[in-house]
């Protein structure tokens, strides 16, 4: 008898451990997204509004843009929300995505230690600033992964006509990590780094770091949203996913994005009206 009871208890325990929870799980969609949008708290603000309006729950996996796109190519997503326009357009062109829409933007900034060894504070031309960092050999922490921010950073170096890879391991340090981890590393070693404004504003471990360069047109950071193609990935919840994409681009969604602030500052600027590509 005792054995029967303990066997029953054990199987109950295992059943509890394995049962999948998530209310309205069949109506939940999966979004592959970037760390900047998730870590800043944007989703915590806008998703409850969407779920209340539609009854659709949204699960967000936050990884770098490159990994997010790869995961979506493996059909492990219903919606992709990232910030690397060329890669996004290729994703659609290769048939994985239905269509790419502009959703919102913010901007990149160069942050660095207060004592500013490369003397770039207040500059508005990011190309010259990067050149000065390279010439002075000041330490620069790069994402060094396949993220949207890293891709943007490489473009900036190119336009500044500097090849930082030559200094890899010297003043140019590739962390191979997410934005937050790279900021932690930069603060730890007093290095300049390129970050998106949203992550920076909501980042809690700033130390004595300040924004050094901002406002250059080259620092524009566009986010796009794509519904994964149900013809390529039959498991995609196309109807619910489309609803989410449509809502994000609707007046309600755009307002919700605009209303999200951290410490009184708006982090993302909706621009879905600007059209799709």
């Amino acid at each position: 008898m005792k054995k029967v009871i303990s066997a029953m208890l054990a199987s109950l325990g295992l059943a509890w451990a394995f049962h999948s929870q998530a209310p309205a799980a069949d109506r939940a969609i999966l979004v592959q997204s970037t760390t900047s949008t998730a870590n800043s708290g944007l989703y915590d603000h806008i998703l409850p509004i969407f779920t209340e309006a539609t009854g659709i729950a949204v699960n967000v996996v936050a990884v770098g843009t490159g990994q997010a796109i790869k995961n979506a190519q493996n059909c492990d997503a219903d919606v992709l929300l990232v910030h690397a326009k060329p890669a996004e357009e290729k994703f659609v062109a290769d048939g994985y995505g239905v269509k790419r829409f502009d959703l919102m933007y913010n901007d990149f900034i160069v942050v660095g230690p207060k004592d500013d060894p490369a003397d770039i504070s207040g500059m508005s031309d990011v190309g010259s600033a990067l050149k000065k960092i390279a010439e002075s050999g000041s330490v620069f922490a790069s994402r060094g992964d396949d993220s949207g921010t890293y891709k943007a950073e490489l473009g900036l170096w190119k336009s500044a006509a500097v090849n930082p890879a030559a200094a890899s391991g010297a003043w140019y340090r590739e962390t191979g990590s997410g934005m937050g981890a790279t900021l932690n590393a930069a603060v730890g070693m007093g290095a300049y780094t390129l970050a998106d404004r949203a992550t920076w504003i909501s980042f809690g471990n700033k130390g004595d770091f300040e924004i050094m360069v901002e406002g250059d047109n080259q620092l524009f950071n566009q986010y796009g949203v794509i519904l994964v193609n149900g013809d390529v990935c039959p498991n995609v919840k196309s109807a619910e996913g489309k609803k989410f994409v449509d809502w994000l681009r609707s007046k309600d969604g755009q307002t919700a994005i605009a209303e999200f602030t951290v410490g009184g500052q708006q982090l993302f600027f909706p621009n879905a009206g600007d059209g799709a590509t």
Partner: protein
């Protein structure tokens, strides 16, 4: 360091307030890692017992392999499970990626070699004491393994706890196969990784302290159970 003092304040604040999100994360951590521990024991203990009592060609190689697998990097396990459970992978049709079940599978793969290798050592030691007596009593085959496992139940409890400790503390595998999805697959370690990447170091440390307290609690509970049971039938 100021961060530590602040971390303790935040930690006790969290525990004291029984923050609902924290409770959810803690419960999921325990659920996933305890399930992984149970499944690993179901697989690993008989395997360890078999390796302890059997003598066959290639046993030495097998011992080396099992012992080496104790050092499996969690990220590699996570990747393997991801590739298998991804929609594009062979088990994608199960729809398990980004669920607690996938996390249990990953942690099970991670700690089964630990359970098997450590229990093999414990059971082999006990078998040197028991082997002749059991043969004299005409006990053979799987009944020998069952006898050894039951009689070594208290040392094996420590083995199981070592597995649990490894499972509940690892982040590399569960963050890949679980995705750290809020209210669905977020556990203590992935939450700590998230707070760290947000630069909220006091919160990250506080969660670490809570994780440590949980580990202490689980171990204290098991050890007191052991002490009670030992008075009954074990010496």
């Amino acid at each position: 360091m100021q961060d530590f003092a602040e971390a303790f304040t935040v930690a006790f604040g969290l525990v004291g307030a029984l923050d609902a999100d924290l409770v959810e994360i803690v419960v999921l951590s325990l659920r996933v890692s305890l399930a992984a521990m149970v499944v690993s024991c179901v697989i690993g203990l008989p395997l360890g017992g078999w390796l302890a009592i059997s003598r066959f060609r290639g046993r030495g190689v097998m011992l080396v392999v099992v012992n080496a697998l104790m050092g499996l990097p969690p990220v590699v396990v996570g990747l393997m499970v991801y590739l298998n459970f991804s929609r594009a992978g062979p088990f994608g049709w199960l729809g398990l990626l980004y669920t607690p079940t996938a996390m249990i599978v990953a942690q099970t793969i991670l700690i089964t070699p630990i359970i098997a290798a450590l229990s093999r050592q414990v059971l082999e030691d006990l078998n040197t004491e028991y082997a002749e007596q059991l043969r004299s009593l005409n006990v053979t085959g799987f009944r020998v393994v069952r006898t050894l496992v039951w009689d070594a139940r208290f040392p094996l409890l420590t083995v199981a706890l070592a597995g649990f400790g490894r499972a509940v503390a690892e982040v590399g595998a569960v963050i890949i196969v679980g995705g750290n999805i809020d209210h669905l697959t977020r556990v203590m370690t992935t939450a700590i990784a998230l707070e760290t990447s947000k630069g909220d170091l006091p919160m990250a440390l506080a969660l670490g302290i809570v994780l440590l307290l949980i580990a202490l609690g689980v171990n204290a509970l098991v050890m007191s159970l052991r002490a009670t049971a030992a008075r009954y039938a074990y010496a």
